[in-house]
Structure formats: structure tokens, C-alpha cells
């Protein structure tokens, strides 16, 4: 991970704390270590100065003792010297390095090591000091000073002359007559240095702690509103737009929070508007769907009426012939009856009369069937009216409508109806509409003197259906091009002349068959003919014979 990445991965608090802490710690350490160092040096210098003073005084005091080699006097003197703080040992050596007197103890028993004349190097110009480390690791400062005398003075002493007025006139030749050594223990010094270091460290730590606490406090002041803002933003992200940061701060973060609150506010307003709009939209969609369903019903009805219009001629023809028979035979019978009642020589031929009346009844029944059939077909069904339906009857009823037209177009209709069809649940009127449509389409496509075949059959399995009735309408007509075959179920698609078709027949038929849970399949070859197969599933049959209602009685 690169440094930049590492920095970016740090939390804001760490980002603030890290450099500030480093800065504070390093500066506090730098300052305190400088102070400690300079204090150490001062204390050391103090000690040395005292030592030098002591050396000078003692060496002067020791002059006569050395001159006279008065061990007792010197011992006394050194004994007093060692009474002073920190001075643990004092000794006077002769110029030949032999010990003249000593006092105090020094744990380094090897006196040679402090012999002033052996180790010339450790005596500096000022004869001041050298650091000696004792065997137990204690530090000592060894200081030495020459004990000097003036030869003349010596002479005079020897001569017993004590007057000193003429001394100044004597040649000032200084003779070193011995060496004073004192060893100062640095233990106390070190102790106090240690103490002051300790104090300094404690103070440093306290300062550090206070600094860090202060920094943390201030950083918290900066960060906690940001955190609050973040938590509000999180909630907003989850969709709770009622959240507000409400920091009430006048600094930049406060400004940010205000801006954020305003943003959330306008977001909420926008969302509410959208939701309101969506609700309206849903309402509108429901309304439109209802309207569409209404239109769909109307469409089915108008397509039906269009089919009826096309069939009207056939129906009229179908009705007018039996009506003609009824009218004619009733008139004829009436005339005969009148004549017979007027003229007894012309008796009523009962067998003829029975035939006339039978014909009248038969033809009247035929009219009734046609009218019923027509009414069933044209009935406006707001909702599908599912009853038990015999598909063979539906096909036959449909044929009575179209027979005439086929007849007129010199097209033969061939019915191959299976006698093993189970009944299905369906709307006979709507199903008739489908077959009327399919037959009229076949008729329009067929040339004169061709045959339209309608077959019904039951299959245990057709495609996805387990048990279905297939009604196959096939013609030897012009067929449908591959380009058009995709569009034939689209509303308003027609290849017929204006006035011959609405373009709704197949689309409405498709809707009706879908409503029955079935499907329509098309197989067509241009110039060879088309086969439409209507598949109606039979899984919804109720086998109870009591409920069986034939289409005839509906």
C-alpha cells in the first residue's frame, strides 16, 4: 500500500492526532532533553568549581605539612577535607609518586590507578579532573592539584626566618613539592540529575497527556458533528428522509449541515411529489385498464355485429324459405278448409292435411332454431358465460349461418365430427364467433368449387395440453405469406378489401380462445391453403350428467 493510500485509509481523528502528537512529543522531548542536558552541565561545572576551590585551598594549606612531611598534620587536613560532601577520598603524593598522606575511602583499592604522575594524560592543563568509573560502576571525579612552594621560602623556613616583607623581591621560582588528589563521588550529582530527569519526564508526560486530551477534545468538537452528519446521511440513504442533522453551528460544518438538511428537505418534497404522482398514475392505469377492458368487450361485440352483418343475408335466406313454406302451406290448408266447408262434395283429405301441418310445424321449428342460434350468437356478453358445451353442436350451429354464403360462393363444406368428444366448459356464443370467423376467412380465401373441411377430434395430448379438443378448419385457398402470418392476430390487420373485414376477427378470436385457456395454431402455404387449429383444453370438465346442458337448450 502506497503512503498516499495509507494516509487516505486513516480515520479523520487519526489524521489529526498523528501529526499533532508527533509534533508535540518531539518538541517536548527536544526541549526537555535540552534543559536536562544544560542543567547537568551546570551542576557538573558547579561541582568542578567547588572541587577546584577546595583543591586550591587545601593545596595551599598543605604546603607546610608537605615541606615538613608532617604526616599527622596532613592526615588531619585530609580528614577534614573528606568531611565535605561528596569528597570521598583525598591523598597527597610526593613528586616520586609515593603516598604521603591519605584520608577517606575509595572503593577502587588499586591506588596506582589514581596515581597522578603515572597517568599524565588524564591530568589536563588546569589539573582539573578526569572521570573514573569505580569497580561497582559508580562514577567518581578525580581532581588533582600541584602543591607548590617558593624555594626562597623553603630556604627561609629552613633558616627559621619568618619575615615576609622582602619576599616580593625574591626570585619567584615555584617548585612543585607534591600533588593533591581528591576524588569526588558523582553519586549525589547523578542522583539529582536522575531525579531532575525523572521530574522532567513526568512533567513531559503530563504535558503530553494534557496536550493529547486537549487535541482529542478539540478534534472531537470537529469530528462529532461530522459523525452525526454521516449517521444522518446513512439513514437518509436507507430512505428515511425525515432525518435532520440540526447542528446549529455557525462554522463551516454547521453550514454543511444546513445545506445537507436543505438538500434532504427538497429530496423529501421531490419524493413525496413522485409518490403522489405514482399514486395518481396507478389510479389512472387502473382506470385505463378498466376502460380498455370495456373497449375490448365492445370490440368483441362490434366484431360480432360485423360478422352478423356478413351473415345477415344467409340468415335471411335461411329464414325466408321456411317462412315461405309456413305462409304458403297455412294459406293453402286454409283455402282447402274453406272450400270443403262451402262445398260438401270436396271432402278434406286428412293425410294431406297432416302433411301440410307437419311441414308447417317443422319449418316453424327450423325458424325458431335459427332465431335462437342468432340470438345466442349476437348476445352481448359483458363477461364470458361458461357452461357445458358440445363443440360438435357449436360447429354445426355455426355452419347453419355460413352454409348459405358458402353455397352462394359455390364452396362445399365438409364436416368430419368426432363422436367421442367430451364436453368442455365454454361460452358457446363466443366459440361460435370464433368458428364463424375462421369459416368466413376460409371462404374469402377459397376459390369457387373448392372444399372447406372442418374436423373435430379429441387428443390425449396436444403440445402442453393433457387432453384437448382440436377443431381444425382447413381450406384450399390462397394461403398466408410468411410475412403476414406473424401479423394475422394483430388487431386491424387485414388483407381483405375495404368493407369485407374489420381486421379484428382473428385478434378477437385469439382473445376468446385464450380466455378458454386454449390456443390457435396456424399452418399455411401460399397458393396451397391454410389450416387453423383451435385447441381447447378439457381439464375443466365436470362429469356429473345432471349438469349437462346441451347447447340446444341454452
Amino acid at each position: 500500500m502506497s503512503f498516499q493510500k495509507f494516509i487516505n485509509s486513516l480515520k479523520l481523528r487519526t489524521k489529526f492526532m498523528l501529526p499533532i502528537s508527533v509534533l508535540v512529543i518531539s518538541s517536548v522531548f527536544a526541549i526537555s532533553s535540552y534543559l536536562i542536558k544544560s542543567q547537568n552541565e551546570n551542576m557538573r561545572t558547579d561541582l568542578e568549581d567547588k572541587g577546584i576551590m577546595m583543591l586550591k585551598i587545601v593545596s595551599t594549606s598543605a604546603e607546610s605539612g608537605v615541606l615538613f612531611e608532617s604526616e599527622y598534620e596532613l592526615n588531619e587536613l585530609l580528614e577534614r577535607v573528606t568531611q565535605f560532601n561528596d569528597i570521598t577520598y583525598a591523598a597527597i603524593f610526593r613528586p616520586d609518586n609515593s603516598l604521603l598522606a591519605e584520608a577517606g575511602i575509595w572503593d577502587d583499592s588499586n591506588i596506582e590507578s589514581i596515581s597522578p604522575f603515572i597517568d599524565e594524560d588524564i591530568i589536563d592543563e588546569k589539573n582539573i579532573d578526569s572521570l573514573v568509573i569505580g569497580k561497582n560502576g559508580k562514577e567518581f571525579l578525580k581532581m588533582s592539584h600541584d602543591i607548590t612552594t617558593l624555594i626562597n621560602t623553603l630556604n627561609r623556613e629552613i633558616l627559621g626566618i619568618r619575615a615576609g616583607n622582602d619576599i616580593k623581591n625574591q626570585s619567584q621560582v615555584v617548585e612543585t613539592i607534591g600533588k593533591l588528589i581528591i576524588v569526588i563521588s558523582l553519586e549525589n550529582l547523578n542522583k539529582s540529575i536522575y531525579e531532575s530527569k525523572k521530574t522532567a519526564i513526568v512533567i513531559t508526560l503530563i504535558v503530553l497527556l494534557l496536550t493529547i486530551i486537549m487535541i482529542a477534545f478539540f478534534i472531537d468538537l470537529v469530528i462529532s458533528p461530522i459523525k452525526q452528519l454521516v449517521s444522518v446521511a446513512e439513514k437518509v440513504k436507507m430512505g428515511d428522509l425525515s432525518q435532520k442533522a440540526d447542528l446549529n453551528q455557525s462554522d463551516e460544518i454547521g453550514h454543511l449541515a444546513d445545506t445537507f438538511d436543505n438538500m434532504v428537505e427538497s429530496l423529501r418534497e421531490t419524493r413525496d411529489e413522485i409518490e403522489e404522482y405514482n399514486r395518481n398514475l396507478e389510479q389512472k392505469i387502473i382506470e385505463r385498464t378498466l376502460e380498455l377492458e370495456e373497449v375490448q368487450v365492445q370490440l368483441i361485440q362490434s366484431e360480432k355485429l360485423s360478422a352478423i352483418g356478413q351473415l345477415a343475408a344467409g340468415v335471411a335466406h335461411e329464414l325466408n324459405n321456411p317462412l315461405g313454406g309456413i305462409l304458403g302451406y297455412s294459406q293453402f290448408a286454409l283455402e282447402k278448409m274453406k272450400k270443403s266447408s262451402e262445398n260438401a262434395s270436396e271432402p278434406i283429405d286428412h293425410s294431406k292435411f297432416i302433411r301440410y301441418l307437419t311441414d308447417i310445424e317443422t319449418q316453424a321449428r327450423r325458424c325458431k332454431t335459427i332465431v335462437q342460434n342468432l340470438l345466442r350468437f349476437s348476445r352481448s356478453s359483458k363477461s364470458t358465460d361458461f357452461r357445458r358445451v358440445d363443440m360438435n353442436a357449436v360447429v354445426e350451429d355455426t355452419c347453419t349461418f355460413v352454409e348459405h354464403q358458402l353455397y352462394m360462393n359455390q364452396i362445399e363444406l365438409e364436416l368430419i365430427l368426432s363422436d367421442k368428444l367430451p364436453q368442455i366448459q365454454g361460452d358457446a356464443g363466443q366459440l361460435q364467433q370464433v368458428f364463424t370467423n375462421l369459416i368466413i376467412n376460409a371462404m374469402h380465401a377459397s376459390p369457387q368449387e373448392s372444399v372447406i373441411k372442418i374436423a373435430t377430434r379429441f387428443s390425449q395430448s396436444v403440445g402442453e395440453f393433457a387432453g384437448a379438443i382440436e377443431i381444425i378448419v382447413s381450406d384450399k385457398g390462397s394461403g398466408i405469406s410468411t410475412e403476414n402470418i406473424k401479423k394475422i392476430f394483430e388487431p386491424f390487420f387485414t388483407t381483405k378489401q375495404v368493407g369485407k373485414g374489420t381486421g379484428l376477427g382473428l385478434s378477437v378470436s385469439y382473445g376468446i380462445i385464450k380466455e378458454h385457456g386454449g390456443e390457435i395454431r396456424v399452418d399455411s402455404t401460399v397458393d396451397e391453403g391454410s389450416t387453423f387449429t383451435v385447441i381447447l383444453p378439457v381439464q375443466n370438465i365436470v362429469e356429473s350428467p345432471i349438469n349437462q346442458v346441451s347447447t340446444e337448450n341454452q
Binding site: 324459405n321 315461405g324 313454406g325 304458403g328 294459406q331 293453402f332 283455402e335 272450400k339 311441414d359 352462394m408
Partner: protein, 129 residues
């Protein structure tokens, strides 16, 4: 009324061309009762063949029929026998019936017609003779 018609006619032969069985039967019963000789054809083609092969005094011909409609029958027959009178019957108002009348068919009776109408037409036709 029936009697008067019967007296006037001298066993005239009438051809009935109609694909409707009930109409054929009715006309047969009625005209037979009036004393006419009746023959029947069940479609246009058969009607033409019969009308051309035998002599008839009158043809009842329906307009809407399979295998040649009434107008075609009228045209083809009157081409050979222009004097043969035709009474067209029609279960629907149709241009073909009007065209036949325009070309000289004696009358067109719209189904369902009453026997009075037939009687009237017959009287008109055979009065001329």
C-alpha cells in the same frame, strides 16, 4: 278464385327450380292442386338442362342457388327460348333479381310470398296467351 284459374289453363307445364325443398314442395302441392303439370330441379345447372330439354309453359326460378344462380339460369335458358316466361323467386333483395326482371323476366316474388301473389302472377301470365 282457384276455380277460375283452373278453368283457364289447359294442362300447362311448369318447371320449378329451387334448392329449398319446402318451397319446391309447397309450389308442387299448390300448382298441382290448380291442375298444372309440375316438374322440379334442385339447382341451377339441373334447371337449365331441364328447361332446355323439355317444353314448359312457365318456369319458377329461385335466384340464390348453388351451381348457377337464378339469373344465370334465366340468361342461359332465354337465350335459347326467349318466349319462355320466368317468375323469379328471391329470399333476399338482390341486384340479380332486378337484372332478370330488367331483361324480361315476368315477375319477381320475394320470399316469403303468399299464394295470392302466385295466383295473381299466374293469372297475368296465362291471360296473355
Amino acid at each position: 278464385m282457384l276455380k277460375s284459374v283452373k278453368n283457364e289453363q289447359m294442362k300447362k307445364n311448369i318447371l320449378i327450380i329451387d334448392n329449398s325443398e319446402i318451397i319446391r314442395n309447397l309450389l308442387t302441392d299448390y300448382l298441382d292442386d290448380l291442375g298444372y303439370g309440375i316438374e322440379m330441379a334442385v339447382n341451377g345447372q339441373e334447371g337449365i338442362e331441364m328447361a332446355l330439354s323439355r317444353d314448359y309453359d312457365l318456369v319458377f326460378c329461385d335466384i340464390h342457388m348453388p351451381k348457377k344462380n337464378g339469373y344465370q339460369v334465366y340468361c342461359e335458358v332465354t337465350e335459347k327460348k326467349p318466349q319462355l316466361p320466368f317468375i323469379m323467386t328471391d329470399s333476399l333483395p338482390d341486384d340479380l333479381a332486378d337484372k332478370a326482371v330488367d331483361k324480361g323476366a315476368f315477375a319477381c316474388l320475394a320470399k316469403p310470398f303468399s299464394l295470392d301473389q302466385i295466383e295473381e302472377v299466374l293469372r297475368d301470365i296465362f291471360k296473355r296467351d
